[in-house]
């Protein structure tokens, strides 16, 4: 189960707080996956109590628009930081993986594809085994239930190392690259990794945060009730 609480001493009206939280959650906690299962109890709460001394409550009125956007974006960045912590501590996780899907026609399609990659058991076990198995990534992309299916001739896949060094291209516009397996292994050995998928369809993008699937996940969940 995911539980979370965010509390601020800013003064924010209930309606503005709810709108900002819904926006933030869609881009943070609703964009993580450890094991693909949805709990009966998942909840993120937000409180604002005005103790900072702000003269009046921030509202959704047009005159507050600029300050509201600032608050919403602050909340979204903070929620993203909190959401990433959950993924880093996923049961049995040894890797933290950012899945970036770019060049989609809509945000929803990008989000669905990122989710499909992030929940694929085979992608996640390959990440645990430090195997640059981009075929599994493509299979997940192709099976995602999107409104506009990707064109296989336009899709590119790369690994982005966390240390800022050059990305490793695995597939470019549907054509496989000659992959340097030693370099791939090097990148996959790190705790942090980014998988970048470019669809070549449009301008929209989405990020998802996931982890690998290890033996420990099975050990932890094999006898959870006892």
């Amino acid at each position: 189960t995911l539980l979370g609480l965010i509390a601020t001493d800013a003064a924010v009206s209930p309606a503005a707080l709810q709108a900002a939280l819904t926006y933030a959650v869609d881009r943070s906690f609703n964009s993580i996956s450890v094991d693909g299962d949805m709990s009966t109890n998942d909840t993120i709460l937000a409180f604002a109590n005005g103790a900072s001394g702000m003269e009046r409550e921030l509202s959704l009125a047009p005159e507050d628009r600029e300050v509201y956007i600032q608050f919403r974006d602050e909340l979204t960045a903070f929620a993203t930081e909190m959401a990433k912590l959950v993924v880093r501590d996923g049961e049995g996780a040894t890797k933290f993986v950012t899945v970036s899907v770019e060049g989609a026609g809509t945000f929803q399609d990008a989000h669905i594809i990122a989710s499909a990659i992030s929940t694929s058991s085979l992608v996640k076990t390959a990440l645990y085994g430090e195997d640059a198995n981009w075929g599994r990534i493509l299979a997940a992309v192709g099976a995602a239930p999107v409104s506009t299916p990707p064109d296989p001739q336009k899709v590119s896949v790369s690994f982005i190392p966390a240390d800022g060094s050059e990305e490793l291209r695995l597939l470019v516009a549907g054509e496989p690259e000659k992959v340097d397996e030693v370099r791939a292994k090097e990148i996959l050995k790190a705790v942090d990794l980014e998988i970048r998928v470019v669809l070549g369809q449009g301008e929209e993008s989405a990020k998802y945060y996931t982890c690998d699937l290890s033996h420990d996940y099975v050990t932890i969940n094999g006898d959870y009730r006892s």
């Binding site: 189960t1 995911l2 539980l3 979370g4 609480l5 965010i6 509390a7 601020t8 001493d9 800013a10 924010v12 009206s13 309606a15 707080l17 709810q18 939280l21 819904t22 959650v25 906690f29 993580i32 996956s33 450890v34 094991d35 693909g36 299962d37 949805m38 709990s39 009966t40 109890n41 998942d42 909840t43 993120i44 709460l45 937000a46 409180f47 604002a48 109590n49 005005g50 103790a51 900072s52 409550e57 921030l58 300050v67 600032q70 602050e74 903070f78 909190m82 959950v86 501590d89 996923g90 049961e91 996780a93 040894t94 929940t119 645990y128 705790v191 290890s214 996940y217 932890i220 969940n221």
Partner: protein
């Protein structure tokens, strides 16, 4: 392969970073077996200008604390001021008894807060106003909460409320199930010319693929 150590992700935060007007605590009340593990937490606002919001699971089998919290938000118009959390038992798929237990948790916190503020003498208290407390539970599904322990734990947590790092850390520990470290962060930002503070607590670590949305609007 042994998972890498994650202990560096939990660290001390200066007291001054936490938002003003909130108190927090965490205690062990006997839901978890090990007495060293916190399993009940409380966070309350001490001001009168409270706003609350939430995003809840879209799972059809919503647990009792989810349903009760949705009700509290609706009944208060988003003016809830406290949250009680327990770990070790999710109070999910527990039927009517589970709903009664979740509501009991909320009402117990309300009563303790009323004693603190003197609101129990007011006319509003006499007419049983809407609860101002949200409820969170996490842990095993399908088992009832040990309510005697929980209610004693709420009283203990209330007596231990504080605003220091240790208070917030205690609350964060009370969220944990299979988490290997408590998750607590705080930061400051400027809004409308005022320095504001924000604190966050969360927990995983399994059954994690959330799809959460705002509470449904009440029927007209």
């Amino acid at each position: 392969r042994t998972p890498p150590s994650k202990s560096h992700l939990a660290y001390e935060i200066p007291d001054s970073s936490f938002p003003r007007g909130f108190l927090a605590s965490g205690v062990h009340c006997g839901i978890k077996k090990l007495p060293t593990l916190h399993d009940l937490g409380l966070i309350v606002s001490t001001t009168e200008r409270n706003s609350a919001a939430a995003c809840f699971t879209r799972n059809v089998f919503k647990a009792a604390p989810v349903l009760v919290s949705q009700e509290v938000l609706r009944d208060t118009g988003g003016r809830a001021a406290a949250v009680v959390v327990n770990s070790g038992c999710a109070n999910a798929v527990t039927g009517k008894k589970g709903m009664e237990d979740a509501l009991d948790m909320a009402r117990t916190v309300d009563a303790l807060r009323d004693v603190r503020t003197g609101a129990s003498d007011s006319q509003e208290a006499a007419s049983t106003p809407a609860s101002q407390t949200l409820v969170l539970s996490t842990g095993v599904i399908g088992q009832p909460l040990p309510m005697t322990n929980v209610l004693n734990g709420i009283a203990l947590a209330h007596a231990n409320l504080g605003s220091t790092f240790l208070s917030w850390q205690g609350a964060a520990r009370a969220f944990m199930t299979t988490d290997t470290f408590y998750k607590l962060r705080a930061r400051t930002f400027v809004l409308a010319g005022r320095k504001c503070r924000i604190v966050g607590i969360d927990k995983g670590a399994g059954m994690i693929h959330p799809s959460m949305g705002p509470p449904a609007q009440p029927h007209a």
